[in-house]
């Protein structure tokens, strides 16, 4: 299985601080995605990084990918209380039509 695994499982920070979450996976991937889930809601796609990319930015989000270490990180800068949510990484294998594999998620709490 190439299941992504997020680290830490839970993270609590003060508003304005940066939050960093990590994801490790097991086998070669086509791309890696990060999703966000507010409590009791569906997941929302945040950002996708391809296997030939090393870093990508979107607003306050910065994602890095190290394929040699089979790991990715998601950095949220200048966090806000509204960033409180669970964050999941998902990996996409090279084989066609195989489902995304989601990690177990990091629960982020941003305290105002």
């Amino acid at each position: 299985s190439q299941q992504g695994e997020e680290d830490p499982q839970a993270l609590s920070i003060q508003e304005g601080e940066n939050a960093t979450m990590n994801c490790s996976y097991k086998t070669s991937i086509n791309n890696l995605q990060w999703y966000r889930q507010n409590s009791g809601r569906g997941l929302v796609h945040l950002i996708l990084i391809r296997s030939n990319e090393r870093e990508k930015h979107s607003g306050r989000l910065r994602v890095t990918l190290d394929t040699s270490k089979k790991s990715s990180s998601l950095l949220i800068t200048a966090s806000r209380a509204a960033d409180t949510a669970s964050y999941f990484c998902a990996t996409d294998a090279w084989q066609g039509n195989t489902p995304l594999v989601f990690g177990k998620g990091t629960r982020l709490s941003v305290i105002a």
Binding site: Q33, G42, L43, N97, G105, R107
Partner: protein, 110 residues
């Protein structure tokens, strides 16, 4: 992009009763469709996925079944619910690499 509709939002059912959860997709044709279950505070467990009408792949042997009678309709069913079927059920559609999720159904089996 696509929009995923799921209903109901919450459901309380007795053990042994049947289940039918419906998911419909708007805004795309021939999407890959997925049913996930999520235990409280946990990750997603993929239950079923479909790459086309009548094509269902099951990821985990269980008390549930899925059907795709139309291109944009994906149904999750059970003939007799178990207590262990309680959870948060999410339907998702995939366009290119990105998945779009519905709002989910919270199922409590009593």
């Amino acid at each position: 992009s696509q929009t995923i509709h799921q209903w109901p939002a919450t459901l309380v059912q007795p053990v042994g009763s049947p289940l039918s959860l419906e998911c419909t997709v708007e805004g795309t044709s021939n999407p890959n469709l997925y049913w996930y279950r999520q235990a409280a505070g946990r990750g997603l467990q993929l239950l079923f996925y479909s790459v086309g009408i009548g094509q269902i792949s099951s990821e985990v042997p269980q008390n549930l079944s899925a059907s795709r009678p139309q291109d944009r309709q994906f149904i999750l069913s059970s003939k007799k619910l178990l207590l262990s079927d309680s959870g948060f059920y999410l339907c998702a559609g995939q366009e290119s690499y990105e998945q779009y999720f519905g709002p989910g159904t919270r199922l409590t089996v009593t």
